[in-house]
């Protein structure tokens, strides 16, 4: 018996569809698609072939060992050279032809060291307007191993947020050293040696439980005796009126 006429036609259609699929796949699917995952493996090389702009910390010390050595001892030891000197890959490729920038004005240092209340407490910050205006930072500070040239005259040189808050509080007249003892080395290695805080309730009680006029008074025995005063009250901006 003959095969019905529609079967060879359907078979032809099937063959054409299969051939069409193979051809279309060959044309549409990119060369390396699916070699590694559901993407073009060649794209990895495309991304990886992007040129480098920042050479990296280890490259600089190869030639500039003296500066790198000085920097490794100072407070800027964690900084990459390219933070201040800009991208230097071109310089490492052609040291004589391309020179990195050498910032000398006040603008570069204040990017990090200008006072900003959102910066973490204790990070060295200055008020750029009040702090030796129009003097270049490098007149007093060595950028590769910075230390304050003299003991900061006041704590607000670094603790800007605390000092601005204290200035408008009832504690404005108190010196920082009334409550804190700062070791001398705290001024050069601020995070290594920290100032002290009052450790007893009687310290605050000298004023606030001593019966002095015009000062809020509490009973040290009755008033939350399990805590130090500054565990509830913020002494730089006390809320009591």
């Amino acid at each position: 018996m003959r095969i019905p006429q529609q079967v060879p036609r359907l078979a032809l259609v099937l063959v054409l569809a299969v051939v069409g699929l193979v051809v279309a796949r060959g044309v549409l699917v990119p060369d390396t698609f699916g070699d590694v995952g559901h993407y073009r493996a060649a794209a990895l090389d495309l991304v990886a072939s992007h040129p480098i702009q920042y050479a990296g910390q280890q490259e600089c010390g190869v030639c500039h060992a003296d500066v790198a050595g000085a920097k490794a001892e100072g407070n800027h030891r964690g900084l990459s050279c390219e933070v201040c000197h800009g991208p230097a890959a071109a310089h490492t490729n052609a040291p004589m032809d391309v020179k990195p920038v050498v910032p000398r004005g006040r603008g570069q240092c204040t990017l990090c060291h200008a006072y900003n209340p959102s910066r973490p407490t204790g990070f060295p910050q200055i008020d750029s307007v009040a702090h030796n205006p129009r003097m270049p930072c490098q007149g007093c500070h060595t950028p590769h191993a910075p230390v304050p040239p003299v003991t900061p005259r006041e704590c607000s040189a670094c603790h800007g947020q605390i000092s601005t808050q204290k200035a408008v509080s009832h504690h404005a007249a108190l010196e920082c050293t009334t409550c804190h003892e700062a070791p001398a080395e705290h001024r050069e290695n601020p995070r290594l040696l920290r100032p002290t805080k009052p450790t007893s309730r009687s310290f605050c009680g000298a004023c606030h439980a001593g019966g002095l006029a015009d000062i809020p008074q509490v009973s040290l025995d009755a008033h939350n005796s399990g805590y130090l005063c500054w565990q509830c009250h913020y002494p730089h901006h006390p809320e009591a009126r």
Binding site: I3, G37, H38, H50, G78, P87, P117
Partner: protein
């Protein structure tokens, strides 16, 4: 041709012409169908043979990258943003960022303000009414390089993908610029490149990783707020960072499994 084969089969089995013809046809059909995958596979096999690439010293399957960010160390200098734009040819205009710095200002009444003027490059304006500020801090943001990335799921052509070493990349020659991934990213980490008209994003500086260098933002961060490393057993700075900090990820409820881990971060940050 089909006629002669039908006649042949009918002569071979004269008693039941119809069943035999059907059996022959079905077996022919089966063999034809069996050949289809082979035909389809020819392209793939050919590719695989052609791609027998020389094995370099870098084996992506040995790595699984992640980043740690210590919010308490960020000083908001935005050197990372500048470095990233320089390193990766990100357009200098605002609104195109692979990484950017946000400033959070939390008021005494609980109101949370977030701003990132030009990614933080030009600094941040003074805070209004400073007396009402309860806390304020900077948060560096970047692509979270999710283990379960929504952007990859929505790409209709497979132009964005997660590599074997855990980095989400964009194939710029294959991206059709449909912007689905930009909408899918819950972290706002993608943008449309204005010149190349493809989706662009943080690559963890993949070209630097391949050359044994840190990402530009990590290299440049002056306070060590960014810690780069691996989530494998390999000892990297990230291992110590993750051991000694209480960690958070952004929007954990979305199950994207970010590989950017934040330390010392307020719950207000999202």
């Amino acid at each position: 041709m089909t006629d002669s084969r039908a006649l042949d089969s009918s002569t071979e089995a004269p008693t039941g012409a119809v069943p035999v013809a059907r059996r022959t046809f079905l077996s022919d059909l089966a063999s034809a169908c069996a050949g289809t995958p082979v035909l389809l596979g020819v392209v793939k096999i050919g590719d695989a043979l052609a791609q027998d690439a020389p094995a370099g010293t870098y084996d992506p399957s040995e790595h699984w990258y992640g980043i740690g960010i210590d919010v308490q160390k960020c000083i908001g200098c935005a050197r990372c943003v500048v470095a990233c734009k320089t390193e990766n040819d990100v357009p200098p205009e605002p609104h195109f960022f692979n990484t950017w710095i946000e400033r959070y200002v939390i008021r005494n009444d609980g109101e949370v303000g977030v701003e990132s003027p030009n990614g933080g490059i030009d600094g941040f304006p003074p805070i209004e009414d400073p007396a009402s500020v309860r806390r304020t801090f900077f948060v560096p943001k970047l692509c979270n390089q999710c283990e379960n990335p929504p952007c990859v799921q929505v790409c209709p052509v497979g132009a964005t993908f997660i590599t074997e070493d855990g980095v989400i990349l964009v194939d710029e020659e294959y991206c059709i610029g449909c912007r689905y991934c930009i909408q899918a990213c819950p972290y706002g980490a993608r943008y449309m490149h204005p010149d190349r008209h493809v989706a662009a994003k943080c690559t963890f500086c993949y070209h630097r990783l391949r050359r044994d260098r840190l990402p530009a933002c990590v290299e440049i961060c002056p306070t060590g707020a960014r810690v780069f490393g691996e989530l494998t057993d390999r000892p990297t700075p990230l291992a110590r960072f993750m051991r000694f900090n209480d960690l958070q990820v952004l929007k954990p409820n979305l199950n994207t499994k970010p590989k950017a881990f934040y330390a010392n971060m307020d719950y207000e940050v999202s």
